[in-house]
C-alpha cells in the first residue's frame, strides 16, 4: 500500500505548501468515466468534441478535483485527513496529454477544532486551470 504522509495539526504551519505533478492520459479519462458514469461526449467522443468550442476532448473537471483529494489525503495533511467541505472553480479546460501541477497552501489551522483550511491551485504550464479551498478535519490518529 502506498503510504500517506502523517501530519499532526500541531506540526502544520500556516503558509506551508505541498504539490505534485501528473500527466493526464486517455486511460485516466476512461477510468474516471467508468468510475463516475460520466460518459459525456465532450470527454469521450473525439468527433463530437472536435465540433465544440474546445476543438478536442477535455478532461472531466472532477478528475482534477480527485487530484485535489490526493493532495489532501496523501500529503497535506495526509493520513489524518477528513475532508469536510471543498469549493473549486474551473477557469480553463485541460486536455489529454497535459501535465497538471496541483499545489496547496495552508491558510488556517484551528487548534481548538482540528480544522485546517487549504487553498489550492491547478496549473497546466503557466495557465491557471482551477482554484479552490477546502476545510479538512485533521484527526487525532
Amino acid at each position: 500500500m502506498i503510504q500517506a504522509d502523517d501530519r499532526q495539526l500541531d506540526s502544520i504551519r500556516i503558509g506551508e505548501e505541498a504539490s505534485f505533478e501528473r500527466i493526464i492520459s486517455n486511460e485516466d479519462v476512461q477510468a474516471f468515466a467508468d468510475i463516475s458514469g460520466d460518459y459525456n461526449p465532450l470527454h469521450m467522443d473525439d468527433e463530437y468534441a472536435s465540433t465544440t468550442e474546445f476543438g478536442r476532448r477535455i478532461v472531466h473537471g472532477m478528475f482534477l478535483g480527485a487530484l485535489v483529494s490526493r493532495l489532501i489525503g496523501m500529503h497535506l495533511p495526509g493520513r489524518r485527513a477528513l475532508l469536510m467541505e471543498e469549493s473549486i472553480e474551473f477557469k480553463k479546460p485541460v486536455h489529454i496529454g497535459d501535465t497538471v501541477k496541483i499545489e496547496g497552501a495552508v491558510m488556517n489551522a484551528s487548534r481548538s477544532t482540528g480544522v485546517m483550511e487549504l487553498s489550492f491551485k491547478i496549473h497546466a504550464g503557466e495557465i491557471l486551470i482551477a482554484s479552490g479551498r477546502a476545510n479538512i478535519l485533521v484527526r487525532d490518529k
Binding site: 469536510m84 488556517n108 484551528s110 481548538s112 477544532t113 482540528g114 480544522v115 483550511e117 476545510n135
Partner: protein, 76 residues
C-alpha cells in the same frame, strides 16, 4: 467590524432575522457537530482569536459563544 450574525447565517443556513442568543443545535438542523467545528474555525479566523477546546466543547448556545468572544474583547 465583522458581522458575527453573517457567519451564523451562512454556516447554519438560517435567516439573520431568526438568529438569537438562545439558538442551539436542537433549533437549527444545520448545526451538527461538523458544521459547528467549521463555524468555530470561521470565527477564529475572522476575529484572529483562538478558542480553547473546553470553550468549544462547553458552548451550548449561540449566546455562550458570544460570551466567549466578549471575554476575548470581541464586540458581538
Amino acid at each position: 467590524m465583522k458581522d458575527f450574525n453573517s457567519f451564523v447565517a451562512k454556516r447554519f443556513k438560517i435567516s439573520p432575522a431568526n438568529i438569537s442568543d438562545t439558538l442551539s443545535p436542537k433549533d437549527v438542523p444545520e448545526w451538527d457537530s461538523m458544521n459547528y467545528l467549521l463555524f468555530i474555525a470561521d470565527v477564529e479566523k475572522a476575529y484572529n482569536i483562538s478558542f480553547s477546546m473546553d470553550e468549544v466543547l462547553g458552548a451550548q448556545t449561540l449566546g455562550d459563544i458570544k460570551k466567549i468572544l466578549r471575554a476575548k474583547s470581541i464586540d458581538v
